[in-house]
Amino acid sequence: MELYSESDKMTIRIYDSLKQVLDPELGINIVDMGLVYSVILNQQEGIAIQMTLSSKGCPMGDAIISNVEQVLQEDFPEFKTKVELVWEPKWSSEFISNKGKEDLGYYE
């Protein structure tokens, strides 16, 4: 029996793809930063991303979102992509993954 369905595998591939997008200040990818809240894959509607930014009004936001769209178009040209910026829940440092914390020297 397969551990992951095809849809799960695809979602994992999308997350891997999003890891190419870095936060310019920290040099850490947006997935490990905890900025990506949800990835929804729908064969008809394409890929829908819900994400946030570390602070409201962050001007790097345009560059980061543009990067997300670019990366998804390159890796998944067969799907339409939609990136939605949300502010709830408010981003907190607790959302950073263990890998992200490790890169930030949290465990040193």
Binding site: P24, S54, C58, S92, K101
Partner: protein
């Protein structure tokens, strides 16, 4: 984490202009320090000390603070800067007014020259305050950072007003008490009301953001806000309306407790941080916070000790002023430059193309090696300079000032490396300053 930057391009240019001007003037301050160390062995009310102090407070510190606020306030309130034109006029007023004022002090050109300088600075400060107030009017009630910033803007305006009255008083002598009495009020309102209040407002927003601190309670900041304002208002009422400074130690305690609450807030932010590796900008910042202890000790000595020797008291006073302006505020600004300027430049150069081609990160746009060397030289120069002032030893001061000149040159090299950063696209890759 990305530093918040104004999206308005013309506003970004104004911000860059402020940073570049402030950096150049900072270099000139260190040169003036080097060539006039002898002046720091006597009374603070003398031409060269006043000239350097005003170049530092207006041309360097206030200039860069203006630039930073034009960037930060719109982001905090999620709105555009009220008027870029006003910010340009303010800039022109401050550059002309400050240079004229420094000239007036240096060459003792009292009369029309200093009065014109003070009036032009007064106009600039008024326009700045209007611009910030109109930008911040959309802020939600109770936003503690904005409360600090608006309060600081008001104290700046009052500081400049008192300064302008003093400039006219040099000729017309209309103030009821002696000139030095009001000079003390002018200095205290400027240092605590404008600089300290502003630093708390800005750093309480930026430092937890840069450190990726956990959720912080703003109560400590609110207590600091009320204590600092209460201490200052009390000091002003006593000194101006009652003509009595005998209760100053009480207000000093209130102010120190306020500053202590701010430091406790920072300590909490530091402890709860996820980002353990401090970059060069944050290293500057935390050393500056530690260095705040030096002027605090000097201030306590001046206000509570039994030191009566007038010469020693003068040395303590000059060392106090120098350590606030250089050891704390300037060091903080040097560090924050590396936390703000690279992002402004990165956004201008790479913001629109970063998704299409590989780009350098903001930290790649300046030399960290130069910044580290600058930090070491600045600390060494500052500490030697303070020792020289306290001991009234000119050669020691000159040695310290020389280290500060080199630090200022290194700082300027990085600032202008950033300001003139060129982007070259080559075979779909971006070459930044010659490196891929």
């Amino acid at each position: 984490m990305s530093i918040a930057i104004n999206k308005n391009t013309s506003a970004s240019n104004v911000v860059l202009l402020h940073y570049a001007t402030a950096a150049i003037l900072f270099f000139f301050i260190t040169i003036l320090l080097l060539i006039s160390c002898e002046s720091f062995t006597g009374h603070y009310f003398q031409p060269k000390v006043l000239a350097i102090t005003h170049l530092a407070t207006l041309g360097w510190i206030s200039m860069i603070i203006f630039g930073a606020l034009y960037q930060l306030v719109p982001v905090i309130v999620d709105s555009e800067l009220y008027s870029t034109k006003l910010s340009v006029i303010t800039y022109i007023c401050f550059v002309i007014g400050t240079l004229l004022l420094v000239y007036s002090f240096w060459y003792i050109a009292i009369g029309l020259t200093i009065q014109t300088a003070a009036s032009v600075i007064g106009l600039g400060a008024t326009l700045f305050v209007c611009n910030i107030f109109f930008t911040a009017r959309k802020a939600t009630a109770g936003n503690i950072e904005i409360n600090f910033i608006l309060s600081a803007a008001f104290w700046l305006w009052l500081t400049v007003l008192i300064g302008t009255l003093l400039a006219f008083n040099l000729t017309y002598s209309f103030l009821p008490k002696e000139h030095l009495y009001y000079l003390k009020i002018h200095a205290h309102v400027g240092l605590i009301g404008w600089f300290m209040m502003l630093i708390i407002g800005v750093s309480s927003k930026l430092i937890p953001m840069f450190l990726l601190s956990g959720i912080l309670d703003n109560k400590k900041l609110q207590v600091a806000f009320y204590l600092l304002n209460t201490g200052l208002v009390g000091f002003l009422i006593d000194s101006i309306f009652l003509g009595d400074m005998s209760r100053s130690p009480i207000y000093l305690i209130i102010l120190l407790v306020g500053i202590a609450f701010y430091i406790l807030f920072l300590a909490k932010a530091y402890k709860s941080r996820v980002r353990k590796k401090l970059d060069i900008g944050l290293k500057h910042t935390f050393i500056a916070v530690v260095f705040i202890s030096i002027p605090i000790v000097l201030m306590i000595l001046l206000n509570t000790s039994t030191i009566t020797d007038p010469n020693i008291r003068l040395h303590l006073s000059i060392a106090f002023g120098f350590s606030v302006l250089f050891g704390f505020i300037s060091l903080l600004i040097l560090g924050q430059t590396f936390k703000t300027l690279p992002f402004i430049v990165w956004l201008k150069k790479y913001g629109k193309i970063s998704s299409k081609v590989r780009t350098p990160l903001p930290k790649d746009l300046y030399s960290e090696k130069l910044a580290k060397l600058q930090l070491v030289l600045f600390i060494v120069g500052y500490l030697i300079m303070v020792a020289g002032i306290l001991l009234a030893q000119v050669p020691v001061m000159q040695f310290g000032a020389f280290a500060l000149v080199i630090a200022a040159i290194l700082y300027n090299m990085n600032v202008f490396k950033l300001v003139f950063h060129k982007t070259t696209i080559l075979e779909n890759k971006i070459i930044a300053n010659g490196t891929v």
